[in-house]
């Protein structure tokens, strides 16, 4: 898989709430399918289907023990997906910080015009228009 299609698969796998809950459980330690199925009102085959998607996305791996085949979290795929979103998040955080500054100014001006019933901009002309 190319890095990009791997990320597509990761995002698709993360889009489902059950799969995110499974990952949250595995963050606490490895677990078998039976253990994973317990908190969900789902059959083991349904859980297995979710596990297959997570495995294909590289988010989890399965142990070789034929009986139990424990699932464990593979943190790297999740870290890659986060890193990707992080660039986008940082761009918007920077943009929104500029908006914070503007809003501060707007709040200050609103406060001043409340004190001045004519609502004149303090940097503008005086109330007589001079």
């Amino acid at each position: 898989m190319t890095p990009s299609s791997r990320l597509d698969t990761t995002f698709a796998a993360l889009a489902d709430p059950t799969r995110r809950a499974i990952l949250a459980r595995l963050a606490l330690g490895e677990a078998s399918v039976t253990e994973l199925a317990q908190p969900f009102a789902m059959s083991q085959p349904a859980i297995s289907k979710h596990l297959k998607m997570l495995e294909r996305a590289g988010l989890i791996s399965r142990g070789r023990d034929a009986q139990r085949r424990p699932c464990r979290l593979e943190p790297q795929a999740l870290a890659d997906a986060n890193g990707w979103l992080e660039g986008y998040r940082q761009f918007w955080e920077t943009t929104f910080q500029r908006l914070d500054l503007l809003l501060d100014e707007m709040k200050a001006e609103t406060g001043q015009s409340a004190m001045n019933p004519k609502g004149m901009n303090p940097r503008g002309k005086n109330p007589k228009g001079e």
């Binding site: 920077t94 910080q97 908006l99 809003l103 501060d104 707007m106 609103t110």
Partner: protein, 163 residues
């Protein structure tokens, strides 16, 4: 305010959801997001870019158009049509970049919720496909976001001098 309160998530294959808290009443946030002279102050784009042209016809069926200018004469344009406007809480509009790197129109839904003088912004962008959504997410990285902190530092420094 902390700088870590912006959350970005992907609620479905085709969507990006951003939520962010602003320390201002939502009337002001709504104004800042819909008046051209105010948008030019903060929606300047990646480092080295500025929002040069901003036209907004804020009514259902009205158009908006943004044009950013960047280094070496680069130009990036984007526009769309307003579908819903409920001042000061909700705007739904279509968005399309001139270069159409998102593979068709996206639909942006802005929801502002006020609580105790602060405003939570929730912006959902629904893209035409998962590929389009992923392309948009990747663009944030491509633009070299780290450098934009320099510009922000300048802004903070200016404000501290003014204060």
């Amino acid at each position: 305010m902390t700088t870590a309160d912006l959350s970005v998530s992907t609620p479905s294959d085709r969507e990006v959801l951003m939520t962010r808290l602003f320390d201002a009443p939502r009337e002001l946030v709504f104004e800042a997001m819909s008046r051209p002279e105010l948008l030019k102050r903060w929606l300047s784009g990646p480092p080295g870019w500025s929002l040069q042209h901003c036209e907004i016809d804020l009514r259902v069926g009205g158009n908006f158009r943004h044009v950013w200018h960047g280094p070496d004469g680069a130009v990036m344009g984007m526009g769309g049509i307003y579908r819903e406007i409920a001042r000061p809480e909700r705007i739904v509009r279509t968005e399309l970049f001139d270069q159409d790197w998102t593979g068709g129109e996206a639909i942006a839904t802005l929801v502002l919720t006020e609580q105790a003088g602060k405003t939570e912004l929730a912006l959902t962008v629904l893209y035409s496909s998962r590929e389009a959504r992923d392309g948009a997410l990747k663009s944030g990285m491509k633009e070299g976001v780290a450098a934009s902190y320099g510009k922000l530092d300048t802004l903070f420094a200016e404000r501290q001098q003014a204060a």
